[in-house]
């Protein structure tokens, strides 16, 4: 049986966690259902609730098994799903600067070759994307943006490349991400951003909230260097 946004599957993924699956393919209705449940749970946590982690089409719910169990947790989550749908707050629009200078965009030429576009057309397509933050994942501040236009969607590289600098603007499939740490990645590096994702504010350590809209604005090398 396949999970759907209206009929999710509750999977006891660990002795202290349930994964709520709303779908198995990247799908907006499933993602909306993830965010609605995440918000409803934040507003009405249950005894023993520890933490919820939203992803594209599933929500990880961790609990304290000394206080509660899978059955109680799933019953609570079900009751939140059937409760009156909460209206989601209006998403914020965040602007992220990006410089496509060849030195800072080591894969731009390859992406152009593989998609049959000119580098300029790849840049235009990337700027035209309608991006939203789907999830945080992998490493601190790694906000997964969905919305990369069809024309520049490529599979990941066969093997990750190490030591990719923080601030790299990387794409894979329909996803885009601005890295915050020196880390390996198997995604394609098409630019570099001077926009600070880490805010140093403990109450809200990163620029984005899940659900935010994101727009990229192109800058030249001089403006990039000045903004660092």
């Amino acid at each position: 049986m396949q999970p759907t946004p209206s009929a999710p599957i509750f999977r006891p993924i660990a002795e202290r966690a349930v994964l709520v699956e709303f779908g198995t393919t990247l799908d907006h209705a499933a993602h909306d259902a993830v965010l609605r449940l995440d918000q409803a749970l934040a507003a009405q946590p249950f005894a023993g609730f520890r933490e919820a982690v939203p992803a594209f089409v599933n929500l990880l719910v961790e609990f304290d098994p000394a206080t509660t169990d899978h059955t109680t947790t799933i019953a609570h989550l079900r009751s939140l799903l059937t409760a009156k749908a909460t209206t989601r707050p209006q998403p914020a629009l965040r602007e992220v600067l990006v410089c496509y200078d060849a030195e800072l965009a080591s894969d731009l030429a390859t992406v152009a070759t593989q998609t049959g576009l000119t580098p300029q057309a790849v840049i235009n397509a990337h700027l035209a994307g309608d991006y939203a933050v789907f999830m945080y994942g992998f490493a601190p501040g790694y906000a997964y943006l969905g919305g990369v236009p069809e024309a520049i969607r490529l599979d990941r590289k066969p093997a990750p490349v190490r030591n990719i600098p923080a601030g790299s603007v990387i794409i894979a499939g329909a996803q885009c991400l601005v890295t915050t740490l020196l880390m390996p990645t198997g995604w394609w590096i098409i630019g570099r951003s001077p926009t600070r994702i880490l805010t140093d504010d403990p109450a809200r350590p990163f620029l984005f909230d899940v659900g935010d809209k994101v727009r990229f604005r192109r800058i030249g090398r001089a403006e990039y260097e000045a903004a660092l």
């Binding site: 660990a14 002795e15 594209f56 899978h70 945080y136």
Partner: protein, 322 residues
């Protein structure tokens, strides 16, 4: 009141029980890889069980005390020495101001926990003193210790005897890691599933606080599929999902990786299952090349194992309070 680092060892970090609550931002739980040993070390020196200690990997640091204190070393067998004279592990011992603590060669296990009465009093970051080196967060300046570092100590109490051998816990040979088959178990063939549990694996050199990689077992055969929209084309790719601590992912179906305390919080490789919490401590004590097997358990068995582990901690607590 401080400890001074004369030599840091291979990679010594400040750790406590961890930093839960920020996984949705990609910040891992961190904390001691062997939390049973970490708790026991704190109990021995009269600290709160959640106090910060030093976690040393493979090789011990050399430390000088500026104050009298009680010290205990638990976890892997890394023999402590005070001014060159050996002291027992899993037992509280006193040090005076000016004393130097050093270590002999590691005899077994991988990580030793060095607790000092009062606890290592570095600033609390996002609710924890644990070091997350990749994110340069917590601990001492967000990094592994270096020679010349000075770490403040809290106000300490009295030491409390020893943890007898029968109350300690370490991995067997091969280590048996109990696993709840998981979300994408259906992606591999029934034969591959049987083989996965039958094989004896070896810890690969890529074994650290982020995750432990295992090699030497047979590569998994996948059930054919059309890749779902949003996932990569490799049969082990999925639409990026959250990984619980203990997740077993198998990129390309070849070498399983168990995500540990500094884990990445999500990604696009399928999770074959989750190692039960009770056995994550054992992984923290495995050296590269040591043998390990994955053992299938049910949810009820996993919950019972969790209960047993808490009872084991309680037995140590009761023993030391007697």
């Amino acid at each position: 009141m401080a400890v001074k680092i004369i030599a840091p060892g291979l990679s010594t970090t400040v750790q406590d029980l961890g930093r839960p609550g920020y996984y949705h931002l990609g910040i891992p739980i961190s904390g001691g890889m062997d939390r049973f040993a970490l708790r026991a070390a704190n109990m021995l020196v009269g600290n709160d069980e959640s106090a910060a200690v030093l976690e040393a990997v493979f090789m011990g640091p050399e430390i000088e005390f500026t104050t009298a204190a009680t010290v205990a070393v638990t976890g892997g067998e890394l023999p402590p020495k005070v001014n060159g004279d050996e002291r027992p592990t899993w037992e509280a011992f006193p040090v005076k101001a000016g004393d130097k603590l050093s270590f002999g060669f590691l005899k077994s296990g991988a990580r030793a926990y060095i607790a000092v009465s009062g606890g290592i009093d570095v600033p609390v970051k996002l609710g924890s003193r644990s070091t997350y080196t990749l994110g340069a967060l917590g601990g001492h300046e967000g990094r592994a210790l270096k020679a010349g570092d000075s770490l403040p100590l809290g106000q300490g109490g009295a030491g409390k005897g020893a943890v007898p051998a029968n109350l300690r816990r370490g991995p067997g040979n091969p280590a048996e890691l109990r696993m709840l088959p998981g979300l994408y178990w259906h992606r591999i063939t029934a034969e591959a599933g049987k083989q996965f549990f039958a094989d004896t694996w070896k810890v690969a050199p890529e074994a650290d606080r982020i995750g432990y990689r295992f090699k030497g077992g047979k590569a998994l055969d996948f059930v054919p599929r059309t890749p779902p929209f949003g996932a990569g084309s490799d049969p082990s790719n999925i639409v990026d999902a959250c990984y619980p601590y203990g997740s077993v992912q198998v990129p390309s179906g070849t070498e399983p990786i168990v995500l540990h305390r500094d884990a990445v919080s999500g990604g696009g490789y399928m999770m074959l299952g989750t190692i039960i919490s009770a056995d994550m401590d054992l992984i923290g004590q495995l050296q590269p090349h040591s043998p390990a097997r994955f053992v299938e358990v049910t949810l009820d068995q996993a919950l019972a194992a969790r209960h047993d582990r808490q009872a084991a901690i309680a037995r140590v607590r009761d023993h030391l309070q007697r």
